[in-house]
Amino acid sequence: MTGGELAALARQAQAGDSVARDELLVELYCSVRKHIYLVLGSRALVDDAVQETMFALYRGLAGFRGDTSSPRTWALAIATRVAYRMRAKEARYDLTEDVSADASVFDLAPAAAAELEMLQRALAKLTPKKRDAFVLIAIFELSAEEAGRVLEIPANTAASQYRHARAELHARFKRFDETAQLRGAEAPGPVES
């Protein structure tokens, strides 16, 4: 669903249309769930964080102003703040051990789900700041400015966090590319299909 469609739903919801409200919340839930899954290292806290974010969205919808951000960016900003609080909790209770990705809530074939879990585990190795910037810019396709607003940091800081994250992740997945290259050298032509 496009940002324009989401904004229209938000306006309808604010006018009292509960169907539009629920539709909007379902859409935002999908984004929020994915975001929190990717940025929050600990699986134990994902459900809590999603719940908390949804409560905040639900309550905040009346005050949401469409002129400053799209509903999705707004939702991601709230999810980011909730995740930030959750990480503090995580540190306090030392829940970091429980880093077991679970992509089962996604509508994905098992192979694709495994890939997503792989990305999630790789993200968990980054510092939270880099992780946040990377997820917002690479996965949710926010501009550096938007990501900066969500993270409450300057746009160029967000951009540099993203670049660093990307470089680290790239290094982590380098061997996949090397293997592919090797395979490509041995047997030219399309490997897949």
């Binding site: 009292g16 919340l25 769930r33 309550r59 009346a62 994905l108 997945f173």
Partner: protein
């Protein structure tokens, strides 16, 4: 494409399964409501327990943390707090009720927003039962108790109307009965949720939504029609419906559907109450017929007038003197205003209006000694027998809700276009013509009836009363006849008062 790039593309395209999202969103509201109740504080109130729940939200019993005073705290569902329209209507209740300040209207202590964004209203905590639940329990009430309840409703309405506030959703479920050490049982009007400050009457969304939500059982014909401007006489019609049901043990109109009932309100003349319950005094029946006039101009002009008239319609022989002269003055003024007559004689007015309804004339019983204390004792005993029910007011019974669901037809007749006013600010209405204290049901000294000498009017009818035996026949013709004031005055008018006197002889 590098591995990282392909992972990114996959992650971009990954979507949470829709069923998961939908389930979560569905549970969201319930979870939030549950979360927000547990031993929390709302404003300056400590929540004791939940005492009611309905479509609009939850009612909690709260204790003021400093004063120790109990309060019923109505919390609008978080989802509904999103809509400014609904919020406006919700707070409108608080504003309207707070503006009136009358013992017959539930007291508002406080209202605002909870930290989670839900709107709330803290109001007087009432113990007792709604008139609706009493009706369901007892089917019908004794004449004396009905009159007293009707009188108190009218007095409270008079206070509201004096502030230019129309209730618009008057029904037995919005009338609460509480014990009062002084007068036995006290009526408290609830739920000014769709009330409107008349000065701001723009036919806005509040009316519209209100109509969708209201039960058509007690709606005035003009309300059924979707009239833009409703005045206090719409409430008087609803009061007539309530009185009818209290006395007859059945609603004014039955119908298979909400539409049916709406059509009846608009086009059908109700049967006389006496055809269901012969013990109802003729004068009371006539008053109810007046209240149920299709044309608002044919109804008594003010609630104060109705209160006074009800007071005089006591059970046979027990006719109370007016405890308060002011509503009476209002009645005369109102009658004069609404019919543009110089002759403000109450008896004449009543006669004419009654004639308009059914070709029958009516008079007023003369004020006599009150036997009201007996009714109070009676109703107090009833309430005691019922035990104390906790006030889970605010919500209509399931039946009414069903009706409300089907009541969309009248709502659609409201033409759209001017529905921009959402939030009605509590403006200070101009001072009422009648001093505010006039509306208080005083139990004090007998008043000096202003301007009009009613006993004289009742005692000197234009012609002698007809024999009582002819009455039932005429009752049937009255039920069917259309308003035809011109043909009315043929039979000599009989006042109830005289009938009572005759019976006594």
């Amino acid at each position: 494409m590098t591995k990282l790039d392909s992972l990114i593309v996959q992650a971009r395209n990954a979507r949470v399964a829709r069923v998961v999202a939908e389930r979560h969103v569905r549970d969201l509201e319930r979870t939030m409501t549950e979360r927000s109740t547990s031993g929390e504080t709302m404003g300056s109130y400590q929540i004791v327990r939940k005492i009611g729940e309905g479509g609009m939200g939850v009612v909690h019993l709260g204790m003021h943390s400093i004063l120790g005073r109990p309060a019923a705290i109505k919390v609008l569902r978080p989802g509904l707090s999103l809509s400014r329209d609904i919020l406006g209507r919700f707070f409108n209740e608080a504003r309207a009720a707070a503006a009136i300040r009358h013992p017959g209207i539930v007291d508002i202590y406080d209202f605002g927003f909870l930290p989670d964004g839900s709107g709330y209203i803290a109001m007087e905590f009432l113990e007792g039962e709604t008139l609706g639940s009493r009706l369901r329990r007892m089917r019908r009430l004794p004449v004396g108790a009905s009159i007293e309840i009707g009188r108190q409703i009218a007095a409270a309405l008079h206070a509201a109307h004096g502030k230019d506030i129309t209730h618009r959703d008057l029904k037995p479920d919005n009338v609460f009965l509480v014990q009062d050490p002084e007068i036995g049982e006290r009526v408290k009007l609830l739920d000014f949720g769709i009330a409107k400050l008349a000065a701001n009457d723009t036919g806005g969304a509040q009316t519209r939504t209100g109509m969708v939500m209201g039960t058509p059982m007690y709606m005035s014909p003009e309300q059924c029609r979707g009239a833009r401007t409703l005045d206090c006489r719409s409430d008087l019609y609803s009061l007539g419906c309530i009185l009818y049901e209290l006395l007859a043990g059945r609603p004014v109109f039955h119908g298979d559907s909400a539409n049916d009932i709406v059509a009846h309100h608009m086009y059908f003349q109700p049967e006389p109450v006496r055809s269901h319950e012969p013990s109802v005094p003729e004068s009371l029946d006539q008053l109810i017929q007046l209240l149920l006039s299709k044309d608002p101009a044919m109804r008594p002009a003010t609630a104060g007038e109705v209160a006074t008239l009800l007071e005089r319609c006591g059970t046979a022989g027990a006719i109370a003197p007016p405890t308060n002269g002011e509503p009476f003055a209002g009645m005369v003024l109102g009658a004069t205003r609404s019919r543009e007559r110089q002759d403000s004689h109450v008896s004449t007015t009543l006669t004419e209006a009654a004639g308009a309804v059914g070709g029958r004339t009516a008079g007023l019983p003369a004020p006599r000694r009150s036997r009201r204390s007996l009714w109070f004792a009676g109703s107090a005993a009833l309430a005691a027998a019922a035990g104390i029910a906790i006030a889970a007011h605010w919500y209509p019974d399931p039946q009414a809700r069903d009706l409300a669901g089907g009541a969309r037809v009248p709502a659609t007749t409201v033409s759209p276009g001017s529905e921009t006013s959402v939030y009605t600010p509590a403006i200070q209405p101009p001072p009422p013509a009648v001093p505010p204290d006039a509306a208080l049901p005083s139990t004090g000294e007998p008043p000096t009836p202003p301007r009009v000498d009613v006993p004289a009017a009742a005692a000197s009818p234009p012609a002698p009363p007809p024999p009582a035996a002819t009455k039932p026949k005429k009752a049937t013709t009255r039920a069917g006849s259309a308003p035809a004031p011109a043909s009315a005055p043929a039979p000599p008018p009989a006042t109830t008062d005289q009938l009572i006197l005759e019976k006594r002889k």
